[in-house]
């Protein structure tokens, strides 16, 4: 991600090919995990006893996740296209973390992924309107959680869906007021750059 700044002068085609190679590698890791070959590999290398000593024997999917993250950071250091690496790595680790789980945990993990993406975007983007979009993304992730609970934990009185309705209401109010604030700030300072919103500074 950031490390590619150091190796900027590389051609974009090369960066793209690195990212594609990373995508293929992630496919292999996820495939190996899904077919159980990764477990065999762990036993072969001898990592099994290490996992057991940390009481992580049932968490072999964490190993696939760590593998994907390490591969991604290596490729990013080499100068691959960081946005593609991030997207591919996220999808790959989401697959490997949830493939053998109950549907409820799959939905909760998806919501966690979307929430983390929204948090990242909220911190990284400098346009105020894009920050508001990231906040909408996070609110939607929470809604997925609530509806999944309504489906799998409380299917008779669907209270999760009720709470989701209230969350949608508050999100609509937040979007209206937030965008109005952005508009009035733009009218006063003629910028929407988050780093120049220092009206309250003296």
């Amino acid at each position: 991600m950031t490390s590619s700044v150091a190796t900027k002068p590389q051609s974009s085609a090369q960066a793209m090919s690195y990212a594609l190679a990373y995508a293929i590698a992630v496919c292999f890791v996820v495939g190996a995990y899904a077919t159980g070959n990764l477990d065999n590999l762990i036993q072969m290398v001898g990592l099994n006893s290490v996992l057991e000593s940390w009481a992580l024997k049932d968490y072999t999917e964490l190993l696939a996740f760590v593998l994907i993250v390490i591969l991604g950071s290596i490729v990013a250091l080499l100068g691959g296209q960081t946005s593609i690496i991030m997207a591919v790595g996220t999808v790959g680790s989401f697959f490997s973390l949830t493939l053998n789980q109950h549907p409820l945990i799959q939905y909760l993990s998806l919501a966690a992924v979307l929430f983390a993406i929204g948090l990242y975007g909220m911190v990284v983007s400098r346009n105020a309107v894009r920050v508001l979009m990231a906040i909408e993304l996070m609110l939607n992730a929470v809604n997925i959680n609530l509806v999944a609970f309504a489906r799998y934990v409380d299917p008779v009185q669907v209270k999760g869906q009720l709470f989701a309705i209230f969350v949608i209401t508050v999100a609509a109010a937040e979007a209206a007021v937030g965008l109005a604030i952005v508009l009035s700030i733009y009218r006063n300072t003629s910028t929407v750059d988050m780093e120049r919103f220092n009206l309250l500074k003296w």
Binding site: A34, M86, A112, A134, P155
Partner: protein
């Protein structure tokens, strides 16, 4: 090839899980599009795709009312407001250099996001949920409506008051203000006003 056959068999046995993974992949990729696209107006339109795929997830979870509410409120309403706000502010300023923060901030944000995800995942992962095996009531819109008008009528009223307050507040905030800011401008403004009023008076 053998693994491909396995995947195919998996898709045939469990359509719901297969659809979930397709919709999840689409929503994650489009969410990255919203965050990382250089052209901000395009990311505003990609947002519609994210909300649409989340609407599909709600349909998979048998929340029909919420799926349609999601489509109407988020995918049409909020995205429309966002795009109009983009048109009223100046998107030309954001040409690549304004789209991202400093590299150190990016790395920090990435670490925080991954840490947050791992925390949530590890706390969700243990399988001690009290999962109910009952099927969802097919008439769950009726259940929702009954709950909103009986047990939850007070929060419902509060929500409507909140919406009204937010609407009035948004109009007040976004309204173009006529009065000038500094005293000097105020003076010029009044002078212009007088000179504009004079010919009309002399005509009479």
């Amino acid at each position: 090839m053998e693994q491909f056959e396995m995947l195919k068999a998996l898709a045939e046995t469990n359509v719901e899980s297969f659809m979930f993974y397709i919709l999840a992949t689409v929503s994650i990729l489009l969410a990255f599009g919203v965050i990382l696209d250089r052209t901000i107006i395009r990311s505003g339109f990609i947002l519609i795709g994210v909300f649409g795929s989340i609407c599909g997830l709600f349909l998979l979870l048998q929340a029909q009312f919420l799926a349609l509410a999601q489509l109407m409120i988020y995918a049409v309403g909020i995205t429309l407001v966002v795009v109009i706000a983009l048109m009223l502010t100046n998107p030309r300023m954001e040409n690549g250099k304004l789209s991202t923060a400093a590299p150190a901030n990016q790395l920090g944000a990435f670490m925080v996001a991954v840490g947050l995800f791992m925390t949530i995942y590890l706390s969700v992962r243990p399988e001690n949920w009290t999962i109910s095996s009952e099927p969802l009531d097919t008439a769950n819109v009726e259940v929702l409506g009954r709950a909103l008008t009986t047990d939850y009528s007070l929060p419902f009223e509060f929500a409507s008051v909140l919406l009204l307050a937010a609407l009035i507040g948004a109009v007040m905030l976004a309204k173009a203000e006529k009065p000038p800011k500094s005293g000097e401008e105020d003076f010029e403004y009044s002078v212009v006003e007088e000179s504009a009023a004079e010919p009309a008076a002399s005509k009479r």
